[in-house]
Amino acid sequence: MKTTFTLNEKPVSWNSEPGQTLLDALRAHGIVSVRNGCDGEGSCGLCAVLMDGKQVNSCQILLPQVEGRNIYTVDYFGKNRSLSIVQRALIDAACVQCGYCTPAVVLALHELLARSPDPSEPEVKDALSGTLCRCTGYEQFFNAARIASKRLRDPSYSEAASEQFRPDLRHVGKDRDKVDAVALARGERAFVEDRVAADACHLFVLGSPHAHAYIKSVDISKAEAMPGVVKVLCKDNCPDLVYTTAGQGFPEPSPHDQRMFPRKARFVGDRVAAVLAETPEQAKAALSAITVEYDVLEPVLSIAQAKAKGAPIVHHGDVSYVVGDPPEGSSVKGDGRDDPILYQFPLHADPHRNLAASVSDGIGDMDKGFAEADVVIERTYVGNRVQCTPMEPHVVYARMDGGRLILHASTQVPWHVRRIVSRAIGVSENKVRVVKERVGGGFGAKQDIVVEDLAGYLAWTTGRDVFYRYNREEEFAASRTRHGMEITVKLGAKKDGTLTAVLMQLDADTGPYGQHCLTVPMNAISKSLPLVLCDNARFEVRSWYTNLSPAGAYQGYGAPKGSFALQTALAELAAELGMDQLDLIEKNRVRSGSRIEILRSLGEGRPGQPVTLGECGLGEMIRRGRVNLEWDKPKPKASADGWKVGRGGVIIQQGSGLPGLDAANAELRLLSDGTLLMLSGGADLGTGLDTVTAKAAAEILGLDMEDVSVVSGDTDTTPFDKGAYASSGTYFSGNAAVKAALDLKAKCISVAAGILGEPESDLAIVPRGIIRGKRGEITLAKLAHLSIQGEGHHELVGFGNFKTEHAAFPYGAHFAQVEVNERSGEVRITRYHAYQDCGTPINPALAMGQIYGGVMKAVGHSLYEELLFDNKGRPLNTNFLDYKIPSVFEVPDDFHVELVPVADEEGPFGGKSVSEISLNGSAPAIAIAIHDAVGVWMREWPFTPERILKAMGKL
């Protein structure tokens, strides 16, 4: 049927099926700024349009319903490649991270300002109430609204988005536009789904309805014969090898235990069959024609079940090792039915007893340490599974070009994707190109190869373009969650609070496959235990297979759960000793010059060694929090009767990449007009990494930001990078860019010295792009021209490689003030202060945005989020109606981020990591604050009102 309406002030008349949504119609007509994050629930608001001046969700409106209406999309505000006041304000306030939600926010603020030109904070909240954002933590949106409002009256209005650092530098430490922000704010084509050809085929997967079942037979014959079907795959016609989906460096510390289509389904949603067809409808119809016979097994649904003697065995195939031998007493002979498991090297595993990996170590004498203690406490903390929920689900577009497979991917690890996919589908790496598009949120889930293997194989074998995008239910059930963990902490201390022994025993639920099975739980130890100084410390880590949804990387890796356990236990110890909890932290924390002996046991994949810490800003961060939250004064009164106030403070740390393991590379080209092209291997997930590398180039070559363009994360055109994980972006990829810029600078000076006839030592680069000597000068443009023309010797290109043995720890102190309702168990966060040391903040406001966003994710994990399963292992809350992530309403009233930089000697311009650490403080700080308010210790996250009431004995 035909629908006539006005779109962005132009009349249009579109034909559609009666049931086509406005969202689908807009995208089909090339308006890609409307996006789908919740499959039509109306929860996420990313598909928003203005209809007759009001913001509505286009996923919940059929195209015929807009007959005669006026529809605006963000494209209207960015017409002629301009920026509206709101778009400019969002960029200035550093609100554009991944950018997937930005068009919706632009529309929301335009609607708001049209009806309320000087909006209050509640009005801003209300305006943004329909938009979910997982990156930003919402806080800086308030700044953007204020800036835009003021510019309505005074177009020249400006304000600093953050404190500025490093006055000796032109760009570093200063707020500059994020290099991709303008395109993202305009809603231009940037994401994988924006690249898909109209005739691409669509891939859909039949997931197992059972958590644990042998797949006895799969009949695909009817499906294969159906209209539009290009290919049907199942266990019988897929590549017969196992691999890991973990996007880690090779050889991976994760077992190769996953087949493209397993012989045994190990979780609800595990791949059973897939259909590639010319339309989504044809693919879905063919899926329903596939018949499967299962041999259903008892599932393993908890760590306790996995550990139990005689438990069902999640992986029962033959176990082998590339290097090393199986642990003594472990079982390696399979049942003859299941897929094999291949370990690259021993991980102290025993898969036939569901033990995917284990490790234990320590320093000192634990018996002696506990014997010396005046007080010993032992507590167990449980962290349930939470979902990364990037607003853009896992997605890939695979196509053939010139006999090569091109993967347009939303990934954190382009090179690991290339390596793993090429092996999985049986081709060499030179036949595969991975192009990382803009990523609509990764958060760790996109460190794994979740969709690329299957799409790549089908594109390679059929020659057809393949579009594969998880829906939200699949994203919840089959992508990656944070590992479930149970952590027992045993602490011994003297009466004055001095720790004499620290024992952490950790059991992790890695789910059906072993990606990150060792490294995530180890990270829970390695990013929490080194925060305290104790001569006697030990950890024991075991990672168990279960039949719940796959676990994997999630921002912070294991650290948020380790931090929750140890920091809360320290507070419980303080309570036991009658001490102020910050005083106990102060007595035991690491400080400048501390020798951290426990790092001898925490080598992250290689032998560890103790580290003598340089400068440490923890003392200053604790001091600032103590002052600003008036810690030493009586608590403030609650805002209403029935609510109780409590406060909590914790210290946190993370790393900056993996010293001795990872590497990053960059190439910087001087173009013929004197501008620069940065080819960075780094994978910018919306964090601002491309802006870091651009700044490095502009700073070192004396240019402005607009003189530098960045191409990144393309395995054909940019050099190798380990990927965006382990808080490595700024430190590794940023340092590679610095080295490339320094290399280019040295080459430019060398060539210029010959042209100018002056010694290199007399030459310096000064803004803007001028090499100046004592007698003469030459511009970079002229230099570039001369070097590539006529008798010029070569193009001027700098190359940088970064690897290090140096461990750079970012530290932080987080403080929460909450109100707890004694009758309902509700928790309100009235104040949240995050003090963090990221070394020199390269992009201060963007760094703060990372912290706001990290904290809000952790607030969600602490209070609301939990992936639930029934007694058959079926996930129960696989959508945003049932699984609640924070909206703008959950932002703390006083949400304060403060950067307390302590420069790192090897970091780029002294920078360290900033993002992941931000998730480590909320759970313990809130748990401690809840105890301070109502006297109960919450040892299981999330701290739901029901759990709080139960702890209070009211249920």
């Binding site: 049931g19 109306g42 059929l62 309902s824 809350n877 909206s887 009211k954």
Partner: protein, 269 residues
């Protein structure tokens, strides 16, 4: 799937179409189309778009408020005539994008346990004017209509008796969540004694309804402390356990929001 979309020219035509199996009337569509993109929305052979046929707007005449069923939640909130308790209930649908589209009539017609408006409208003694096929518009108490919905709601008529104290309440996990429990109360305080108490709750039956047994507990008494209200109310509630919480917890939350609403209403006096 929606296989056919129809925009009828009259209410009578709409009602005739609604008699066909698989045909569903839609106003804003926010309930009906939830999850539609992945096939989770309600199956509709034919969507009958009735929005343009429904009266819209809020008007007050004497002690009576009339709300057109095509009025959006946001329009209700923006109305100068709607009472605070009704605006609060509408605002409990925290998502403005949805409020810009969702209608009063749709909220009643969907008749969900988590619906935002029915409890406070029930508590206020609202009536609905609706039209059934081949019939002149009829008026019925809202509680009776919700028990056996028929036709299309045209207007909601809300008594606005002077001296009436009323408040709405809601429990949910986050602000933008489906409600675990909703409540509406109204009463008068005569010489410090509760008179004419009406209590309605959502979340404790398939759809929101009046709880006269609860109201009877407090009729003729001074407003009890919150703890006393909770203690006697909780045993009278029944709930089911699900991923939003256990039955026991939901009953507790229901009792708490009831107590809060009764006290919030008094605070308006």
């Amino acid at each position: 799937m929606v296989n056919e979309y129809v925009r009828p020219a009259s209410l009578e035509e709409a009602l005739e179409l609604m008699e066909d199996d698989g045909s569903v009337a839609s106003a804003g569509g926010t309930f009906l189309l939830t999850g539609y993109e992945v096939g989770r929305g309600r199956d509709m052979d034919c969507m009958i778009d009735v929005l343009q046929l429904l009266p819209s707007g809020v008007t007050r005449s004497g002690n009576e408020l009339s709300i057109g069923s095509g009025t959006t939640f946001q329009a209700l909130i923006d109305s100068k005539d709607a009472p605070a308790c009704l605006k609060a209930a509408a605002l409990s649908m925290a998502n403005r994008n949805t409020r810009n589209r969702a209608t009063v009539g749709g909220n009643l017609g969907a008749n969900k346990a988590c619906a935002s408006l029915p409890p406070i409208l029930l508590a206020l003694g609202a009536k609905v004017e609706f039209k059934a096929r081949a019939s002149a518009p009829l008026t019925l108490d809202l509680d009776k209509w919700l028990a056996a919905p028929e036709g299309l709601v045209l207007r909601v008529i809300v008594p606005m008796a002077p001296g009436t104290l009323a408040a709405a309440g809601r429990a949910s996990r986050t602000a933008c969540d489906l409600a675990t429990a909703t409540v509406g109360v109204s009463y008068r305080l005569e010489n410090g004694v509760i008179r004419g108490l009406r209590v309605a709750l959502g979340g404790f039956s398939p759809h929101a309804r009046l709880f006269p047994d609860l109201a009877a507990l407090f009729e003729g008494t001074a407003l009890p402390p919150k703890a006393d209200i909770e203690r006697v109310a909780k045993p009278l509630l029944t709930a089911i356990s699900d991923h939003r919480g256990s039955a026991d917890y939901k009953k507790q939350r229901g009792a708490v929001i009831l107590a809060d609403a009764m006290h919030a209403a008094e605070a308006l006096s």
